[in-house]
Subunit: 263 residues, 3 copies
Amino acid sequence: MTIETPSSARLSCALSDLRATRPLVHCLTNEVVQEITANVLLAAGASPAMVVAEEEAGTFARIAGGILVNMGTPFPERLRAMRKAVEGAREAGRPWVLDPVAAGGIPWRDGVIREFVELKPAVIRGNASEILALAGAGTGGKGVDSTADSSDALEAARALAARTGSVVAVTGAVDYVTDGTRTFAITGGDPMATLVVGTGCSLSALVAAFCAAHPNALEAAAAACALAKRAAEVARRKADAPGSFHVAYIDALYTIRPEELGA
Amino acid sequence: MTIETPSSARLSCALSDLRATRPLVHCLTNEVVQEITANVLLAAGASPAMVVAEEEAGTFARIAGGILVNMGTPFPERLRAMRKAVEGAREAGRPWVLDPVAAGGIPWRDGVIREFVELKPAVIRGNASEILALAGAGTGGKGVDSTADSSDALEAARALAARTGSVVAVTGAVDYVTDGTRTFAITGGDPMATLVVGTGCSLSALVAAFCAAHPNALEAAAAACALAKRAAEVARRKADAPGSFHVAYIDALYTIRPEELGA
Amino acid sequence: MTIETPSSARLSCALSDLRATRPLVHCLTNEVVQEITANVLLAAGASPAMVVAEEEAGTFARIAGGILVNMGTPFPERLRAMRKAVEGAREAGRPWVLDPVAAGGIPWRDGVIREFVELKPAVIRGNASEILALAGAGTGGKGVDSTADSSDALEAARALAARTGSVVAVTGAVDYVTDGTRTFAITGGDPMATLVVGTGCSLSALVAAFCAAHPNALEAAAAACALAKRAAEVARRKADAPGSFHVAYIDALYTIRPEELGA
């Protein structure tokens, strides 16, 4: 199979769509990254909202443009709200993104994640260890961090996409986004992003935002990855340590223009 | 009705009271903004504490100087703790502030917010869409963001204040603070504040802090709004993007002196 | 009793161990400080993970190198997860750290904290008011802030360590770390750290990280305190207000080299 580089024109178009639409993204995410997730969405050009009660998560998912379900800190009450949100998203035809945090590490969590994979997310975004585990080809990373390279999970990502019908994004030193047939590679970025909590989780939120604004999920996911990688590069030129990098990364998500997204 | 500009002397006095008192503010707020809320209070000169269990929220509210109840991410267990906190606040004569996040959007949430409005908060602080919804004159914004200008909600704010006995602050490009009879307008600020999550929610916490330190709730709420607007202006002069703006906003809350608060 | 200054060689060795091991730290901490706690661990050289469900907290504690239990925002479901995590830590022989936030303020909370003290944490890290309360010699601070100096709690810390078998770290203007027999004092730091929420709570997470990487809990806790104090000093030279200080503090945790840790 060939690996394509997404065209600058397509990436620019997706970011223009995001900025023009300013979609409302309903995030059911983990406890650790809620603030950075909201700030990443706001800086990039979307409108975040976290609605977490079972009583209103389904109603709100029908209002939102895109939905994020992140498995970083699941617990029974939150899982009930996530199920309602996914049900609402499916009924209203809204794209939703699954972030299978730490898949492959703990049986209870794996059971929960498997349940959501079967609910047909538009996109699954994870690191190599997570995607390998979901494809049945690995046994998890170190806590929330991957112990494999994204290229190690490329075939697993394709197989997972082919089996589930979801676009699969496996992110790392190189990001691969595949629908099982076509595969995009997005290069660049900077490893310092791994020293700021929530850069991966908020990338999944960006994927949901791009999917809400741009009809093609494969291109939308690729554009989200490209924006995050460009922002990390810009940030790294301004910052030598993770505190400053975090600030510069948020700034860059805001200042990068659509025409800068392509290679 | 006339609209007044709060006098510099009054605003300075309120901020001096805050810095001298360093009140303990008990925040029952949403999951997304807990860190920025605490940092805003610390920088401005108050002492934040989040005590969230039903078992201790009421006891703690009696110890605190002011209490914040923010409806961003309500769920049944947290609502029980909020009810205990409000009960404690009322019994101990402590001022409490209601932030009716996203009022007007979802029936379940509206029912919850209505219940708390009837419990007579000292101040209700919201955006235009929220205040219009509470006054029965609008149908909600876009998620947590207002789709109306604050001036559109001025009459609604006055009517809500007159009906409930609460001071009502409707914030936006111009902030209006009213007790139904007198109305203050606070101008300035910077729209970049809307790109940092929690600047609105933490303003409600600042209102609770000022109310704890300064006996007049109308002046206290106006001073909180004035401090936030001045800090946003200072931050905007130092920052061109939301990551840097966030840092500069916290810095400015700390460095602004009482005598700088007036126009 | 004498008070020792920890040797530069020992402190350097502990930080080298941390950077070489990059231990996985399982944090069951309060709602307010989850993001800064993760970022502090990442910057210093550890790998944070927050796993909060009762269903998986015990399993995950057996995988982690060190565990943090922080009592900032306890509630019944979270307490059940904390009990499972401590049980897992004890069975797997993993060091765990207790942060008794606001001990001495509310009877319900004090009962909960007492229960965990009896479960024999490797280290208890608190401020003076908290340690005085745990030792039965004080009645709590102002919310989460201490109203006493760390030196006021030195004897209480020694008594608590002698009674429980835990290393006790009482932090403040000077940090004291004691096992009841030997006592280290760590000086330096900067008071501006108290204006950034979570610097104390994340120090407890750092203690867990150092304990996971370095076998001697007394030295590990002293090294964590020394790293935090050095980082605060570096940050204060770059920043005059708490927003900038926060960024510079995270940066410094990353840039400080082992050989810089000693006085």
